[in-house]
């Protein structure tokens, strides 16, 4: 059963109330099993996402440089540097998220990167540039649209949830 084994305390074995009319009625045991489970799921999803985004770009630096250039945000001199290093940042973050290494730093960086990507896409969507998203593969994928913006917003909310979960749990008051 999902969540079993997280604790052997007797509260876990207690039958759950059928309907939760208020969050106050969620037992401590539910909180203790649900939140860590959701955080792990969020971390693994984000880790896989970053690996999926980063690894293909490592093998196509020229195409990725072009995608970055098309965004028209970075100065020309920084385009190739970003194309060379950004896929590795994504890949390292992906590995660290999945393996659970240096989580506070990794999680914060995940949020900062997703916020940067989302802002860049929204900026270019707003100014009407008709360019490829360059989010995952570097081939001819879908251009920036409301769908790619919504998708990245969803990823960002997952990352935000994980950020709050990570720092909330580590706070000395909890």
């Amino acid at each position: 059963m999902e969540g079993k084994g997280a604790s052997d305390s007797p509260e876990l074995m207690a039958p759950q109330t059928a309907v939760c009319n208020s969050c106050e009625f969620i037992s401590m045991a539910d909180k203790k099993t649900f939140l860590p489970g959701a955080l792990i799921a969020a971390r693994l999803i984000l880790g896989a996402l970053f690996l999926y985004a980063g690894v293909p770009k490592i093998f196509q630096p020229e195409a990725f440089a072009r995608a970055i250039y098309n965004y028209q945000i970075l100065p020309d001199l920084l385009v190739n540097f970003a194309a060379i290093t950004l896929p590795w940042v994504e890949t390292v973050i992906g590995i660290f998220l999945i393996a659970g290494i240096w989580l506070p730093g990794t999680v914060l960086l995940t949020n900062l990167l997703l916020l940067t990507f989302l802002s860049a896409m929204a900026f270019n969507y707003a100014r009407g540039l008709d360019i490829d998203c360059g989010c995952f593969s570097t081939g001819s994928e879908s251009p920036i649209s409301s769908i790619t913006l919504l998708r990245d917003t969803a990823f960002f909310f997952i990352a935000l949830f994980h950020l709050f979960g990570t720092f909330h749990r580590r706070s000395p008051r909890h």
Partner: protein, 159 residues
């Protein structure tokens, strides 16, 4: 202190990734050069594609002599913030709805120069094709028109 590990983990992750990226790029065959003049490359590519590219100097001269109509292919909001003086607005994304209001004043044999912002911007290219399809015979594209026009201090206007 919760933030303490973050202070060294974030720079460490970034540094490790940058070292990895630069190292692999250095040793792999066909690695990217660290810096490139993307604007020159992009203009050359547009010319090689057979697009009717016009140089900034030629466009500026035609502008001085009032020999060409400049058409801004960017969204209306960008046009309102600033555009080449005398240019008319025909945003590519609304061209099919709005051309009927804009183009009747421009004869088909008139020299027309389309532009947008950034060399990789293709709005001006699409608009130029659209104009050719409508029968315009003297259509040119000014790559990165707005950016370079501003940089060179050529006449601009707002609204």
């Amino acid at each position: 202190m919760v933030l303490k590990p973050v202070l060294w983990q974030v720079p460490a992750i970034l540094l490790a990734s940058i070292v990895l990226g630069l190292g692999v790029n250095h040793f792999r065959p066909g690695g990217l050069e660290l810096a490139r003049d993307w604007r020159t490359v992009a203009v050359a590519e547009k010319t090689a594609q057979g697009l009717p590219v016009i140089s900034l100097d030629d466009a500026a001269q035609l502008h001085r002599e009032s020999q060409a109509v400049f058409i801004d292919a960017r969204p209306q909001a960008a046009y309102a913030e600033g555009h080449i003086r005398g240019a008319v607005s025909l945003p590519w994304h609304r061209a099919e709805e709005q051309f009927i209001d804009v183009l009747p004043d421009i004869p088909t044999e008139q020299t027309v120069i389309t532009y947008c912002d950034g060399v990789s911007c293709e709005l001006s290219d699409h608009l130029a094709e659209f104009l050719v399809d409508l029968g315009y015979t003297n259509v040119h594209i000014l790559p990165d028109g707005w950016g370079r026009w501003k940089e060179k201090g050529l006449p601009t206007a707002r609204n």
